[in-house]
């Protein structure tokens, strides 16, 4: 197994971009299944905790299923499978497109776990060395860092409400929507206060004091990085070529 730390974050970015681009470009279920298998294999080889990450995403499963159902309902081409009167509810192409969507999302998620084998600072430095402005790359990494905190805050507010004797399970949908509208106000206000404090702390430590900055982290692409990066790009072009011909 390749030790994840031995690979430059830019190599990992190239692998992820190659796999993700293929998944967006290709519209054939068989190819997408092969790409997903490659993504899982590469992720495992690079030591990413793919299944732990996917387990954490199981709460999103409902959203994915809803998107698949909506997608299959709104695509009207192909042979109807379920009809209500003259109204076609589900077609074979609808199911095909929904499966395509599911595979595509899975490929992107699985390949993204490769990036988690590096720290966000390493990935950020990789992007900076590709001439992406530090501020933009930093904003993305801070957003990733603080997004789970927003979720925790939402959960804390929900718990506080439940401790006051409100049973969420017994509420009607209308009441639930009303309750969530009350919850979001303090959560959003809290997030704004936190982001303001964060920006003050950053300014106190000289953030954007000058147009450029130095970096303690030093990235170095070695022969293995160049070989893997080249192999990723060539393999992607090869798969795309076979698909097109």
């Amino acid at each position: 197994m390749i030790q994840d730390k031995s690979l430059d974050p830019r190599t990992k970015l190239i692998i992820v971009i190659s796999i993700s681009s293929l998944s967006v470009f290709i519209q054939d279920l068989r190819y997408l299944i092969i790409i997903l298998a490659i993504a899982i294999l590469v992720s495992k080889i690079l030591g990413s905790e793919i299944f732990t990450v996917l387990k954490k995403l199981r709460r999103m499963l409902g959203v994915f299923i809803a998107m698949i159902i909506v997608q299959s309902l709104f695509i009207k081409g192909g042979n109807p499978l379920i009809m209500i009167g003259k109204f076609t509810l589900l077609t074979d192409i609808g199911i095909f497109r929904a499966s395509e969507f599911l595979l595509r999302i899975s490929i992107i998620l699985v390949s993204a776990t490769i990036l988690m084998t590096s720290t966000s600072r390493e990935i950020l430095q990789g992007l900076v060395e590709w001439k992406i402005p530090y501020e933009i790359a930093f904003m993305v990494s801070v957003a990733i860092r603080f997004l789970p905190l927003l979720g925790e805050e939402l959960q804390d507010t929900l718990t506080a409400i439940q401790l006051r004797g409100i049973d969420m399970d017994k509420l009607s949908i209308k009441e639930k929507i009303k309750l969530y509208s009350h919850i979001f106000t303090p959560v959003v206000a809290g997030a704004i206060v936190k982001s303001q404090r964060l920006s003050i702390a950053m300014e106190c430590r000289g953030f954007r004091a000058y147009n450029k900055r130095t970096s303690y982290i030093k990235l170095k692409m070695n022969t293995k990085d160049y070989l893997i990066s080249t192999a990723s790009i060539i393999t992607s072009i090869f798969i795309a070529y076979i698909y097109l011909t």
Partner: protein, 228 residues
């Protein structure tokens, strides 16, 4: 010797507010002194703290009169990079001061912004970690540390800028007794190194290490007589 901090007849109110929150502050802090500013919530302690490092009036706009001089430099006319190396601030909530994936990255963030060389940053990281006694956590994610440890890292991140003056804005409010003890020990070491320290506090138990206490009440600095 010029004072570390010299505030002269300072008035400030935030944009959109009716009343001034600071109403004629006069304060002088000697170099190497530990000063505590105590006061009830809402009396402008944090606002005063922001004026010491130029956040007010440079970032938070409002009606600002008077002058704040830090080691002879008027904060209004001093650029951010220079101020960051003169005054370091440790805030109350460690979670909104830490944003890097490792302790090492967190400490390197400030010097990187100020274009310090890589070799120098490495040296500073080692010195700071030794001072705060957190060497073993160098590659840890700050999120996985206790409240006291996180606050020590926030302090370390500020110390890596090598400021002459340190401001603790209720920095011990969210941590346990053990954590408070650790931070107080570091503050004592910093005083021995000749640093000037301002502690904004409301907990009298944290004042056993200070040289002088003043009270901020009704927007003015007053003599502290043991009560808020």
């Amino acid at each position: 010797m010029i004072p570390a901090i010299e505030i002269d007849n300072l008035y400030f109110k935030y944009n959109g507010q009716k009343d001034y929150i600071l109403k004629g502050i006069n304060l002088s802090v000697k170099q190497g002194e530990i000063l505590a500013i105590v006061g009830l919530s809402g009396n402008g302690k944090s606002t005063l703290c922001y004026t010491l490092n130029g956040i007010i009036p440079n970032t938070f706009k409002g009606d600002f009169h008077g002058s704040v001089k830090i080691l002879g430099n008027n904060v209004k006319d001093t650029d951010r990079a220079e101020l960051a190396t003169i005054v370091g601030v440790v805030f109350q909530d460690p979670d909104t001061q830490l944003f890097s994936p490792t302790v090492e990255d967190e400490i390197a963030f400030g010097p990187e912004n100020l274009c310090v060389s890589r070799e120098e940053i490495g040296q500073r990281i080692e010195e700071v970690l030794k001072l705060i006694d957190m060497e073993r956590y160098r590659y840890e994610n700050p999120n996985n540390l206790s409240g006291g440890e996180k606050q020590l890292i926030a302090l370390g991140a500020v110390l890596s800028l090598e400021p002459d003056i340190l401001v603790f804005d209720e920095a011990m409010a969210q941590i346990d007794e053990k954590g408070k003890g650790k931070i107080k020990n570091v503050i004592k070491k910093l005083k021995e190194d000749g640093k000037t320290i301002v502690m904004i506090e409301h907990d009298f138990n944290n004042l056993d290490i200070v040289d002088r206490i003043v009270l901020l009440k009704d927007g003015k600095i007053q003599e502290f007589k043991g009560e808020l």
